[in-house]
């Protein structure tokens, strides 16, 4: 990993989806899915993005790839601002950024063979044709641990873990620099999850890949990431080196989230003190004023309703958005 070589820089990214009602599809409000998110990913690094369902982590991933047109903010890939380019220029850069999706059942076209699925990016980008495509697909299948003889099979002939490997092969086909992994293992069984995570780690080493690893499983994110960002209701609450986030969390949300994760050890579990949050995540249509977390926060005070906390660097490299993080430093 190269600390100085920033591959992706996300600057104050905002994504609001309009809510339309009535015959004339008037906009009556906005879903504040992502509300001012900033971070950098270095070359060869894995940044874990964790949060509960509906916190905007997947939307962040998709908006980075310009699958949604962001409401505001910038996404710099190398020197280029992705929000400023379009058409052919964007299409060429997309080769360098690929995505692995959550659901291995829904993300592969059931009517296409493995060769067509994995080879399609090559054909679309005019990188190979005919025999070359087939050979390249066979190479890719070997890379992700599938038998190259499977090129003519259809997705339904594979198990969930194998399908996810096909998704990985497709993402690799264009030799990308950045892969956004959107919950790549949450639909898989425990023993299969480990297979796919090991594969992703091997490929990263082999091809110097950079990952944005989006997940809700905090133990797995801890295993795979170099740095971790914790998201809540469209905002990054905390961002730091992996060990810092897990051992010295500076945000009360991160603390509660970590304490809620069960540990597979009855002896440890017996002694653990949990911070049990009350209530549910508020609606992103009408998020709370000030700090987004204040409605469930055990240490919320008046200032939290009035002022949105700054995303501040409390310790070098350790950012948190809380008025009271100083307490935990």
């Amino acid at each position: 990993m190269d600390e100085n070589n920033v591959l992706l820089k996300v600057d104050n990214l905002v994504m609001h989806f309009p809510i339309k009602r009535g015959v004339f599809q008037r906009t009556v409000g906005f879903v504040h899915a992502v509300d001012g998110v900033s971070f950098e990913i270095h070359q060869g690094e894995t940044l874990g993005l964790v949060g509960e369902s509906g916190c905007g982590k997947s939307t962040t991933g998709r908006t980075i790839l310009q699958l949604y047109k962001p409401t505001d903010g910038h996404v710099y890939f190398g020197e280029t601002d992705l929000t400023k380019i379009k058409g052919e220029e964007l299409r060429l850069l997309r080769r360098k950024m690929q995505m692995i999706f959550q659901d291995p059942y829904a993300s592969l076209n059931p009517r296409m063979t493995v060769e067509e699925i994995v080879g399609e990016p090559l054909i679309v980008h005019n990188l190979a044709k005919g025999r070359e495509v087939r050979d390249r697909v066979k190479d890719l299948l070997g890379l992700v641990g599938l038998n190259p003889a499977y090129v003519d099979r259809y997705p339904h002939e594979f198990s969930g873990g194998q399908r996810q490997r096909i998704g990985v092969a497709r993402a690799l086909s264009l030799n990308p620099d950045l892969i956004i992994c959107d919950e790549p293992i949450s639909a898989l069984d425990v023993s299969i999850q480990a297979q796919v995570v090991n594969l992703l780690e091997d490929l990263q080493e082999q091809f110097n890949l950079t990952y944005l690893f989006i997940a809700h499983d905090l133990s797995m994110v801890r295993h795979i990431s170099d740095r971790v960002a914790v998201m809540y209701l469209g905002v990054i609450m905390e961002l730091a080196q992996r060990a810092e986030v897990y051992n010295h969390p500076l945000h009360p949300y991160t603390q509660a989230l970590l304490s809620a994760v069960p540990i597979p050890d009855p002896v440890v579990e017996e002694k653990r003190q949990r911070i049990i949050l009350t209530g549910d995540v508020p609606s992103p249509v009408n998020p709370p004023s000030g700090c987004r977390f204040r409605t469930r926060c055990p240490i919320a005070a008046e200032i939290c309703a009035e002022k949105r906390p700054e995303f501040k660097e409390w310790v070098p490299g350790h950012f948190a958005a809380c008025h009271f993080s100083a307490k935990f430093v």
Binding site: G161, S219, S259, P262, I263, P264, D265, D280
Partner: protein, 329 residues
């Protein structure tokens, strides 16, 4: 403690176009008063089919309970008339399902649905039932319970809906609560709330629980004893502390190894993955069903399916190999 439920040699088959799938192949266990039994396994291992068979909730056909018994209060649940088992289901043994979205009737109010077991099993009139429902909803922590009786399931969040489901299961104060992956669809902070709630209710009401899950973390903090299932067999059973401290079966060892832990000090270089896939059994195997994925495999494993054998105090494992020494047992 007195024995509450005694399941012996339970076997369930499903007729499919490809042949007869042997989903549960002779499962036996005991449940004592006030005990929490965790049943762990990956998808397709037969854990849900086991409990559904006990309550006779398996659709027949294609399902068929072909053998075994489930003795509850000196009677075999599997041989009862439909009328008799209806008096047990929901009243003395009740069940909480995985998906709080689909297990309610969307067009009936919550009040109506939760009061149904009271009216059916306890012969209460509407007014009595309503008071009792409000009581149970308050017990599981639904705010303003009385005002919410007229609400429909979609007006509750996922976590709240799972609370309502638990209230419904507990409203007749059953002796046994069967929970089939009740927190799998929920976020970790909500999962922690639900588990706290179940623990509290267990201590207050003194019921026994069968908790089915694939999450070894959840079980560690909740269960007294656990059974690990693979391919329709219980392959290891013991008090939770023993299993986590010294797992004996290669599959259990693999499962625990494939989990990254939130509290481990260093980043493990690689997760231990179990290569291959769980089998679908079209006939009863005369070999160990885990043998094809097992690195301890010896000759004997291919000729005879190992029964559960004692390996410690109330610790049984179905494996021909002593995994501590690598020798034949």
């Amino acid at each position: 403690m007195a024995e509450l439920l005694n399941v012996k040699g339970l076997e369930t088959h499903f007729r499919t176009r490809e042949g007869i799938v042997h989903a549960v192949n002779g499962v036996s266990f005991n449940l004592k008063e006030g005990e929490t039994l965790g049943v762990v396994g990956e998808s397709g291992c037969g854990k849900s089919v086991t409990v559904m068979s006990i309550l006779r909730l398996i659709p027949q056909p294609p399902g068929e309970i072909v053998g075994g018994q489930a003795i509850y209060q000196d009677k075999d649940l599997l041989k009862m008339s439909d009328e008799e088992i209806r008096h047990i289901r929901g009243a003395q043994i009740s069940m909480v399902f995985q998906d709080p979205m689909t297990s309610f009737n969307p067009v009936l109010t919550i009040g109506r649905q939760v009061s149904e077991p009271l009216e059916v099993h306890m012969g209460m009139n509407t007014k009595q039932a309503e008071d009792r429902v409000v009581e149970s909803l308050e017990l599981v922590g639904i705010p303003n319970a009385r005002d919410r009786l007229k609400d429909y399931p979609h007006q509750f969040s996922g976590g709240m809906r799972q609370r309502v489901m638990i209230a419904m299961a507990l409203t007749c104060t059953p002796q046994i609560l069967i929970a089939d992956e009740p927190t799998t669809a929920l976020d970790v902070t909500i999962q922690a709330q639900i588990i706290e709630l179940v623990k509290r209710l267990r201590d207050e009401l003194g019921m026994a629980i069968i908790w089915i899950t694939h999450d070894l973390g959840v079980i560690a903090g909740l269960a007294d004893n656990m059974a690990v299932m693979y391919a329709g067999y219980i392959i290891e059973e013991a008090p939770v502390k023993d299993i986590y401290a010294s797992p004996e079966h290669p599959y259990t060892i693999g499962l625990l190894g494939s989990l990254p832990r939130l509290d481990s000090e260093r980043r493990a270089e690689r997760l231990i993955s179990i290569e291959g896939l769980p089998p679908v059994l079209y006939e009863k195997p005369n070999y160990c069903p885990f043998a094809p994925r097992c690195k301890w495999q010896i000759e004997h494993c291919l000729h005879e399916n190992p029964p559960l054998m004692p390996v410690g105090t109330s610790h049984n494992a179905a494996c021909w190999v002593d995994t501590k020494t690598g020798r034949h047992r």
